[in-house]
Amino acid sequence: MANLIQRVALRGDAEAFAELFRTYAPRLKSYMMRQGADPMTAEELAQETLMTVWRKAGLYSDERGSATTWIYTIARNLRIDRVRREVPWQALPEGHHETASDDVAPDEALSLVERKSRVQAALQELPPDQYEVVSLAYIEGLSHNEIAERLGLPLGTVKSRMRLAYQKLRSAVEDLNEQ
């Protein structure tokens, strides 16, 4: 995927873009629908996410972050803006990696693929109760209180499940941070 984005970035490669579009747009449409958008709006937002990737691909660099993560953050912010109609305070990764180069070790870029595969593995290994709260937050867009209501659990239980999931992820990538 990073390769496809680089082809888009370096050469304005429409074929590479078409492949990215085929891979991501249908999943992003599902994401937007799970967040409460009607199918038509969800499709528009999926299209718009990919158009943003096209327009901003020149800013994307392999060294700065995972390509799929970049696409996710664009979709998430668009959703906050257009589905929740709130101001997204979340910065897109392209912003901070440009100036905060000192937090990213030079060889950290090489470990991005490794990092993503570890995050993915840690996600799959989460116990079902932790996976559930994480998924409700990310995919359904529910707040801590809304998750507690949905599952009929005390707020403290929801938060502690999230913290446990977070700690597992962090320990899965910890040694990469120290490189």
Binding site: P26, E86, T99
Partner: protein, 227 residues
């Protein structure tokens, strides 16, 4: 100057998930602009978001992908985006650059300097300056200035609420909070903050439940106003 108090891990996760209420997200974003370790952790949590989206089934699109002509016309519009992005990049400065000024994420709401804020007096030794949220943003976001040595009555919060210290410090049962530090207390926590005896403090407080926050304010201000 070193940050010792960070947002709760569950708060950071909801921030990356895009499911944190707007005023709380404002606190996290401002803290992150000063805190490399939270930036790194949120980058990991963003990655988790992309892994979760990868697990979703595809929903077929009704319309075709944009054609070459549409793509070309978008490329021409892209120049403006590039300029904007380098401005966004300035959003991330480190704590040492803060030196009493407004962290970049807040500049559009507050202006660049903490010295030019049109404070409104709330009670003896305490001033505030409410910040606007979007039309659908729920809750309350405002700056507070507290006079040196001011003691707040002991109180709880009862609702999602966060405080970010911008200048000076305060101390309470949970420790000392200086610039960049965040108090992300559990709902049932009680505390009695005391502002720095030399310089007092300026902080940003976000609250999701407006009614509870207002009644809390009234209780805090009451002993000083004698109402």
């Amino acid at each position: 100057m070193k940050i010792t108090h960070h947002p709760d891990e569950a708060t950071l996760m909801s921030f990356a998930a895009g499911s944190l209420a707007e005023p709380l997200a404002a606190i996290v974003a401002t803290h992150m602009s000063l805190c490399p370790s939270c930036r790194r952790d949120v980058a990991m949590l963003d990655m988790l978001g992309s892994c979760l989206v990868d697990t979703l089934d595809a929903t077929p699109l009704e319309k075709p992908a944009p054609d070459a002509g549409t793509l070309r016309s978008q490329t021409e519009a892209a120049g403006a985006d590039t300029a904007k992005s380098s401005r966004d990049a300035a959003a991330f400065r480190d704590l040492d650059d803060l030196s009493g000024n407004v962290p970049e994420p807040l500049v559009r709401l507050v202006g660049p300097s903490l010295d030019n804020i049109a404070w409104k007096r709330l009670g003896y030794g305490i001033w505030h300056y409410p910040l606007p949220l979007s039309m659908s943003g729920k809750g309350d976001l405002r700056l507070f200035k507290v006079a040196p040595g001011q003691v707040m009555p002991e109180h709880g919060h009862g609702g999602a609420e966060m405080t970010l210290l911008l200048r000076g410090s305060y101390s309470d049962e949970f420790g000392r909070f200086g610039p960049g530090d965040v108090a992300d207390l559990d709902e049932d926590a009680e505390h009695q903050p005391i502002a720095d005896p030399e310089v007092g403090c300026i902080c940003l407080i976000a609250s999701v439940e407006r009614a509870k926050f207002k009644s809390l304010l009234a209780r805090i201000v009451q002993p000083f106003t004698g109402l």
